[in-house]
């Protein structure tokens, strides 16, 4: 029931928001996000006591044998928490921001959240697919109405590209559905017990993988991302980069690894190769970016590449690292966007070359930015380190040379982040940054949540590791 509320509350909250006016929409949506967070936290506590007690399974589309089957495992719980926390941070940071027609904006944001919750809790493939698409629709409107000057073309490309991937997945799901015995079923249980031939698994793998690879995105399916991040309104960029890209990884871990193990075994070398190329490639491109949003977009592609590589490394430590990093990356990248938004709001630009002297004029913004950036370069005792260490360890276990090449990201990451920091926060102030105002209370709250999580989970990652350990154990048990 609790799990169902996690979907229902943002859904209802979003629908109600459409009817509100002006400030009411902002306050209401923040309140809804807080309630959802409280629910997620409650679910987290309940999950610790009894991981299996949170499911809900009712008849949905009886003719097709599809059930409204939702539940939580460690990974789902972790992503639900991530979604809930991120939304609170997003709404806090955007509290004073004037969007045109705020009731529509915030309403669509909440509908997206409901869809995301559905994706992460669905244990029925059809339900999963429906939620997967439901997420895309509000995001499409958010981007194409409130986005930057090139929003129409960019959003169209983003939509068609990801939708193309989804359709492939739908074909895959239907195929699997017809392989299930008796009166067919879409349930995860049934899918994971299919006896599929090796050849079958090998082509089915691509139907799913392309959908998830576009979403993550994995090189070379990534080109929609920098444009979209740049043009989307920042709150939407946050949802996209912190949560939606995790849908791709989630899909692979939930629906591909246990269902198509032989397909995974057959293609993992190629996928890891692509991912590793992507890591170095995106890191290099990040060095020459002149726009803050594009820089972090490429940085994010590099990070996602590492996560994808580690998923396919077949190492338990690597998998744990991925799960931990999914959460931590979400928090860190949200923090980065919060700072970018603060700068853009104040300076009217996100061009790196136009900034400078922020540490002098707005030291608190600078300190926050510095700490979050250190998380992004995976400095030990920040949360970024834990997952990265484990993922590299897993990748090394798979192949030492691959890890060494991917490890170049450790160096290149420092190069692009430090170069950016040098230009943005250090140096002397210029005419633009001369009068910049330091952080405001609601922004400080948003940043404090992010920094608190970065430091706490960097020093004491045990709670998070234990939470997601549940999923790793299930996966390894399924493998036998």
């Amino acid at each position: 029931m609790l799990t169902f509320l996690l979907i229902l509350i943002p859904l209802l909250g979003g629908l109600i928001t459409f009817g509100l006016k002006g400030n009411g929409a902002r306050i209401w949506s923040l309140a809804t996000a807080l309630v959802t967070l409280a629910l997620a936290a409650t679910a987290g506590v309940a999950f610790r006591q009894d991981p299996s007690g949170l499911g809900l399974d009712v008849s949905w589309i009886r003719q097709l044998g599809s059930r409204f089957s939702i539940g939580l495992d460690g990974m789902g719980m972790m992503l639900v928490l991530l979604t809930a926390v991120t939304y609170v941070v997003i709404f806090l940071a955007a509290l004073r921001h004037d969007y045109e027609r705020p009731h529509h904006f915030y309403g669509l944001m909440l509908l997206t959240q409901a869809g995301l919750m559905g994706v992460f809790t669905a244990y029925d493939a059809l339900l999963f697919y429906v939620c997967w698409e439901l997420v895309l629709i509000p995001v499409y409107f958010l981007c194409s109405i409130w986005g930057g000057p090139r929003r129409i073309a960019v959003t169209f490309k983003f939509f068609v590209y990801t939708f193309f991937g989804s359709l492939l997945m739908l074909v895959g799901i239907i195929y699997l559905y017809f392989q299930t015995p008796g009166t067919h079923s879409f349930s995860w249980e049934a899918f994971t017990h299919l006896q599929l031939g090796a050849g079958e698994q090998q082509w089915l793998f691509w139907l799913f993988f392309v959908a998830f690879a576009i979403k993550m995105p994995v090189f070379p399916f990534h080109t929609w991302q920098p444009d979209t991040y740049e043009q989307a309104p920042t709150p939407v960029t946050m949802v996209l980069s912190a949560i939606m890209v995790k849908m791709g990884l989630f899909g692979i871990i939930r629906w591909v690894l246990p269902v198509l193990p032989q397909g995974v075994a057959h293609w993992s070398h190629l996928v890891i190769l692509l991912s590793v190329i992507g890591i170095v490639y995106a890191s290099c491109i990040a060095i020459v970016q002149t726009d803050l949003k594009r820089l972090f977009a490429y940085s994010s592609i590099a990070h996602m590449g590492l996560m994808c590589a580690a998923v396919f490394s077949g190492s338990e430590v690597g998998m744990q690292g991925v799960l931990v990093q999914m959460f931590n990356h979400g928090i860190i990248i949200t923090g980065l966007w919060v700072v970018v938004e603060m700068l853009e709001q104040r300076l009217g630009t996100k061009a790196i070359g136009d900034m400078g002297g922020i540490a002098l004029k707005a030291p608190r913004i600078a300190i926050a930015f510095m700490i979050i950036c250190l998380g992004n370069v995976a400095l030990p005792l920040t949360s970024g380190f834990v997952g990265e260490f484990m993922m590299f360890s897993g990748l090394y276990h798979y192949n030492g040379w691959m890890m060494a090449v991917a490890g170049l990201a450790i160096i290149l990451g420092a190069v692009y982040i430090l170069r950016m920091l040098q230009r943005v926060i250090f140096g002397d102030a210029n005419s633009l940054t001369e009068k910049i105002k330091d952080i405001k209370t609601h922004e400080w709250l948003a940043v404090a949540v992010v920094i608190g999580l970065i430091l706490f989970l960097g020093i004491y990652p045990k709670p998070l590791l234990e939470l997601v350990g549940h999923t790793t154990q299930t996966l390894w048990a399924l493998r036998g």
């Binding site: 070379p220 080109t223 290099c284 450790i410 926060i425 250090f426 045990k462």
Partner: protein, 632 residues
């Protein structure tokens, strides 16, 4: 007592938090007291720990704090490990650290209250990280400190962040360290795969089980050495350290001379078993070390910036430590870390005192004759010069002699190259001494008026360090001179696991004495020569020419790196962005989209609206299906 070891890093961390949070409210006095007292408290506890460790019957102890990372087969506790090596480093870090904190209260007094607090917060954070580095009971905790000190170094080099050159130097330091860190990390993963653990007390026995010359160990130790080369500024990753002089001078003394840069030495000394088992790596370490020692010394000969001289001198002295590690003189290397911490911190603080008096001037050509107004600084600086040059019975003599003696036993060639470096050291140090303190003053009239001896908060650390620079070597007087090398006995348990594998090169006592005598005589000649040349130095304004120019321009290594790595990386990245990304991959994606649209337009033409055509198409389709059905 040992169980209280967590307090040692705890105090500086507390200082960091207090000064960080209260940086706008605290007056400078409060900030300074918090900064100094926290390190002093750590020092006192370290003394207690040192005493406990020295007691008879002490065995190394692991103190468990909490579980850091635990997943699957990976188990990394947050543990501290206390043995003789750790306790010695604790004393050096907190002891020298305290003196430098004290010195900084006066040196940094011109900063604003906020800047002052920021400085002390960073400095405390550095001490905290450095303590983690030497306290860690496994390589991951060590790595936490390892990257932590890198961060603090970055923050402090770029302390005056308005200056773009300084922040550039800070970036360079961090990035070069990261290159080394990648090597370090790969070594850790390899170790993890091989041994299933990263805890020292588990890794070393398992490694010993592999025996000598195992490829795994050679690989692991070489990769660890890459990390050490980054952190401890060895060829080819040394170029960040001279640039790091952009930071405030006490920072150079603490981080870029006495403590952080010796982290690589600590790491290898800690991993001595692994290195002893991999003689091939040891040769690499020794050769890189000795080459760094002479190479950096040659550059120091022609530097005019007093801090640059000291920076290259540090690189060179670190080279000696690695030479020591390479030839198996682990005690000698650690011994040199200790004496070097005393005299090099003293040199930097002395230089800071001079720069302070000169109103920020660092160019020795504009100094001269400072021994008059700055007696304490002069005498202590002279002591440090004698110590680093290796004049008995000052500290540097014993530690350097121990390393060179063992190098001779391993290979006379290493000894000769090392000795050449030592002679250059004597020359450039006394060149610096003479240019700065001897002769007549060459600065401006305003500077002459401003000249003064530094306040007691600065001279007191100078005096204490001078005493240590004199007497610090007496804990390791070799047998041949009638001593019994207390340090060696103290550290023996740390290096005991290496003993069964170590190949002893013992030189005869008579040879040892002869080498000492020759070295000392040559060093004295170099000193006299340097004094003779530079005591009456006049700045003729002529730039260096010929080979001197090459040395003054640091062998053009920076330019080489920029041409070989820096610029290609940028142009390749730009090319990837413009050509491969935008035109290539994205072009392909857009092309697919366009061709679908084009294709749809073509297909649309078929829908003519004429029923006759549709029926015709239907019939054709049915015929094809029939044919396919019959024949296939």
């Amino acid at each position: 007592m040992i169980n209280l070891v967590w307090l040692v890093p705890c105090f500086p961390l507390l200082g960091f938090l207090l000064n960080g949070v209260g940086r706008r409210v605290f007056p400078k006095g409060v900030t300074g007291i918090i900064g100094c007292l926290t390190v002093l408290a750590s020092f006192l506890i370290s003394c207690g720990i040192f005493n406990a460790v020295r007691a008879d019957g002490f065995t190394a102890q692991t103190v468990h704090l909490f579980d850091f990372i635990s997943a699957g087969s990976l188990h990394l506790p947050f543990d501290f490990y206390v043995d003789q090596l750790t306790s010695l480093f604790l004393l050096i870090i907190t002891g020298v650290g305290f003196l430098i904190h004290l010195y900084s209260t006066a040196y940094m007094h011109e900063e604003s209250g906020e800047g002052f607090a920021r400085y002390f917060a960073y400095l405390n954070l550095f001490v905290f990280s450095m303590l983690l580095l030497v306290l860690g009971a496994n390589y991951v905790i060590m790595f936490i400190g390892w990257e932590g000190v890198g961060l603090c170094s970055y923050l402090l080099i770029g302390f005056w962040f308005k200056n773009a050159d300084f922040t550039k130097a800070a970036n360079k330091a961090f990035i070069m360290n990261r290159i080394g860190d990648l090597g370090f990390l790969i070594a850790l993963f390899w170790m993890l795969q091989q041994f299933g653990t990263l805890t020292f007390t588990e890794v070393f026995p398992k490694a010993a089980g592999l025996g000598m010359h195992a490829t795994v160990l050679t690989g692991i130790t070489l990769l660890l050495f890459v990390g050490a080369a980054g952190k401890s500024a060895q060829i080819p990753l040394y170029t960040w350290l001279p640039d790091a002089m952009a930071g405030p001078t006490p920072v150079s003394a603490l981080i870029h001379a006495a403590t952080m840069v010796t982290a690589g030495v600590y790491m290898i000394a800690r991993s001595n078993v692994l290195y002893t088992l991999a003689p091939a790596t040891q040769w690499v370490v020794a050769v890189v070390g000795v080459l760094t020692a002479v190479f950096a010394a040659s550059i120091a000969l022609k530097q005019n910036d007093i801090k640059k001289v000291l920076a290259y001198s540090t690189v060179s002295q670190l080279g000696y430590m690695f030479l020591g590690l390479g030839v198996g003189a682990y005690t000698g290397a650690v011994f040199h870390v200790m004496t070097h911490a005393f005299f090099k911190a003293l040199l930097f603080l002395g230089a800071g005192s001079v720069i302070h008096a000169m109103g920020g001037e660092q160019d020795m050509r504009k100094m001269g004759g400072l021994r008059g107004p700055m007696k304490i600084t002069y005498i202590t600086f002279l002591i440090a010069c004698l110590a680093i040059a290796g004049i008995p019975p000052l500290s540097g003599f014993f530690s350097k002699d121990e390393i060179l003696g063992q190098a001779f036993a391993a290979s006379p060639l290493l000894y000769v190259v090392g000795l050449a470096g030592a002679l250059m050291t004597a020359f450039y140090m006394f060149r610096a001494l003479a240019m700065t303190f001897h002769g007549t003053f060459r600065g401006t009239e305003a500077q002459r008026h401003h000249l003064h001896e530094s306040p007691p908060a600065m001279t007191l650390p100078l005096i204490v360090l001078a005493l240590l620079a004199i007497a610090g070597g007496w804990v390791g007087i070799p047998e041949v001179l009638g001593g019994h090398h207390g340090l060696s006995a103290f550290l023996a348990p740390v290096f005991a696991p290496s003993q069964p594998f170590i190949v002893r090169h013992e030189a005869a006592h008579r040879t040892e004495l002869l080498l000492m005598a020759i070295a000392t005589a040559l060093v004295i000649i170099m000193i006299l020569w340097a004094l003779r040349l530079f005591n009456r130095y006049k700045d003729d304004g002529k730039p260096f020419s010929g080979f001197a120019r090459v040395l003054a321009d640091k062998w053009y290594v920076d330019e080489l790196y920029d041409a070989a790595v820096g610029r290609p990386l940028k142009s390749i990245s730009g090319m990837l962005d413009r050509v491969v990304e935008k035109a290539g991959i994205d072009g392909l994606v857009n092309g697919v989209g366009r061709s679908v649209r084009w294709g749809s337009r073509q297909v649309r033409m078929i829908q003519t609206g004429q029923v006759g055509f549709y029926i015709f198409a239907m019939v054709v389709g049915m015929v094809i299906l029939l044919v396919v059905g019959i024949f296939l």
